[in-house]
């Protein structure tokens, strides 16, 4: 995969998780800025997914294609699902859902990198 794109996703997701965690500590519900932030992270995840798909078509997929695609799909839905679940809860616990969703993203990206490099 393209390292720059991967790292952009990882850094953005971690920064977002840290930002949301501060809001949890300060007892803040998930407000609009956190929705916008989630949108930014999701946009990067989308770009990364497109890049990965283009690379798979051009250079061939990693050996464990099914697992890789599974991680790719899960990465795409985790932020929207987290947002959906978070926004109905008007307390710090809603914001804490965003922290969890954002922390899953880097884990998935790292696993995807491992699978990608194993096939290279």
């Amino acid at each position: 995969m393209v390292a720059v794109v991967d790292w952009a996703v990882i850094v953005a997701a971690l920064a977002y998780a840290a930002w949301a965690l501060v809001a949890v500590v300060r007892n803040r519900p998930p407000r609009e800025p956190y929705v916008v932030g989630a949108g930014v992270v999701e946009l990067l995840v989308l770009i990364q997914a497109v890049v990965a798909v283009v690379l798979m078509i051009a250079d061939g997929a990693p050996e464990e294609t099914a697992t890789f695609v599974g991680y790719l799909l899960m990465n795409l839905i985790i932020i929207p699902l987290g947002l959906f679940w978070a926004l109905a809860e008007k307390s710090r616990w809603g914001t804490s859902v965003l922290v969890v969703a954002a922390l899953v993203v880097p884990l998935l990206v790292v696993r995807m990198q491992q699978l990608w490099d194993a096939g290279a």
Binding site: A66, E89, W93, G94
Partner: protein, 136 residues
């Protein structure tokens, strides 16, 4: 506030979110394992599928209102605890029976031991949100 909505609000919101992550990842993992290499380790892969079902049932039951949902959640979370303790212990002493990892192998070490902590938190949360309505 009813016992039902209490279960899915406050800390329960976070708990159910973590359950959902495990339901998703365990299902995806089991699906891929069974579809691509079932013959290599059928026992481990069937166990993965079983764990996935337990997580899905627990997630949905914890999120839904009502006394029935509470009972289902209690059963699912209990099975989950027994599962992670049993599989964790077996894999710790004799990994030969499970040549490939499941979410419960070595007490969920591959997942930061969250699979071991999650059912305990689930049981505590079910007890804390227990209301008189749930007796019905």
């Amino acid at each position: 506030m009813s016992g039902a909505s209490r279960r899915a609000s406050g800390p329960g919101r976070l708990l159910i979110a973590v359950y959902a992550v495990f339901a998703l990842s365990a299902s995806a993992r089991a699906g891929v394992q069974i579809a691509t290499s079932f013959d290599e380790a059928p026992v481990a892969y069937l166990l993965s599928a079983f764990a996935a079902v337990v997580y899905i049932v627990a997630t949905v039951a914890l999120a839904r209102p009502g006394a029935t949902a509470r009972r289902v959640a209690l059963a699912a979370v209990s099975v989950e605890l027994i599962g992670v303790l049993t599989v964790g212990t077996i894999t710790a002493f004799d990994p030969g029976d499970f040549p490939d990892d499941t979410v419960w192998s070595l007490y969920g070490r591959g997942y930061g031991f969250i699979p071991l902590v999650l059912p305990v938190l689930g049981l505590l949360w079910l007890r804390r949100t227990w209301t008189t309505e749930d007796r019905a």
